[in-house]
Symmetry: C2
Subunit: 207 residues, 2 copies
DNA sequence: TGTATCCGATACATAGATGTATCGTAAGGT
DNA sequence: ACCTTACGATACATCTATGTATCGGATACA
């Protein structure tokens, strides 16, 4: 997050990407001028065009980076929980889920940026394919920990783990977006829809 | 949908609104120039500024109209089903749900327009409040028909009807968006996520 | 310390969008 | 049929964004 101020190419690119994430989240890709992004990063457009071809290229890199971060964060957390011996008898599956979901970059700006990425995926078929691929990876990670829990004999599901994982993803996204709309701050947002998500988990679990 | 070509104020406004719906869906609010909307409608900007204050005003009117249409379509359908005696023993609750959901303007452009409206609701608190209010109305309608089914003694839910209705809305939205991303055409989209939605209904129903 | 190189700032040319002011014309009333 | 009014087209001035070409200065290396 905090980026040094020395003068190196990589550093400049990182600061521009960070600024772009904020500005794109706030006003959208089309609403954001290259100038605005540069100003936020403390540069002029000279720096921008020296590092990126166009606003579109910057956006693609940003989206790729965001996808990578999300996927690997979830995957790391899942691995950690699995190795950590969190899957003991009497463990709290709802709590586990929430721990995983909380990594999704679920602050206000994160939600807005993901929404911007999502709408872009809706307009551009190729980009959409990448978006869906990234989501499949996240679903696979969630599915994996669900399977781990199941094979530990701690509970049974009423649905295939993959279906359950996808439902959880969709529900989680829907709840965070609505939370952000309702003006929840970042702290509230972090547990937004926890209620509903918990109830969904209850439904998924075979009593 | 088909709008006469006579020269009257109301007609002009309607054609501009219709064109705006298409263009906004395709390229987004910020990506759409007033010129592009006018061109699509077969007018010049003169007509536009004679009828609307700004692009923003046009968008607000459009969003309002869309909300109105969606809410009343769902409400009408629910009333119709209730009066129609569809709630008989052995009725198919999943089919009922799908019939209701299919009204949401779930063609490709409809999905994209709603996404545009949604992201706008995310950026503007006041607009977001209106968006959530509209959604609450739709949820209320769905909740009502669920309650009708329940009080007819046809089934029992494992959750409060309101929670169930909200889950269905969110899941339906998520599935149609993903369907549109995956390149499903309008016909496929109409049943998009029907599988998952059906499974969710199964979960909601007390066996 | 001197020098070559890299990187970001500045300046400029161009394109596109906006909003307004004016003009021409079609419709409606008498 | 004439006149008035209303509506949309055209033309124009302005503003903003973009991309490029050039310049200045900091950094790294000898």
């Amino acid at each position: 997050m905090s980026i040094p101020v020395t003068r190196s190419r990589e550093n400049t690119r990182a600061r521009l990407l960070e600024a772009a994430a904020q500005v794109f989240a706030e006003v959208g890709l089309d609403g954001a001028s290259v100038e605005a992004v540069c100003e936020r990063a403390g540069f002029t457009r000279g720096a921008f065009y020296s590092n990126f071809e166009s606003k579109d290229e910057l956006f693609l890199m940003l989206a790729g980076s965001v996808a990578e971060v999300r996927v690997s964060a979830v995957r790391a957390r899942v691995d950690e929980l699995a190795a950590d011996g969190a899957l003991v008898a009497g463990c709290d599956p709802i709590g586990l889920l929430q721990q995983i979901m909380e990594l999704g970059g679920d602050d206000r700006l994160g939600v807005m940026l993901m929404s911007e990425i999502r709408i872009r995926a809706l307009r551009d078929a190729q980009f959409g394919e990448a978006y869906l691929a990234q989501e499949r990876e996240m679903v696979a990670s969630i599915e994996q920990i669900i399977d781990d829990i199941i094979s530990a004999g701690l509970l049974r599901l009423r649905l295939p783990a993959e279906t359950a994982a996808r439902m959880l993803m969709i529900m989680w996204e829907g709840m965070t977006v609505r939370g952000a709309m309702a003006g929840e701050d970042d702290a509230q947002l972090r547990h937004s829809g926890g209620e509903e998500l918990g109830q969904l988990v209850q439904l998924l679990i075979e009593s």
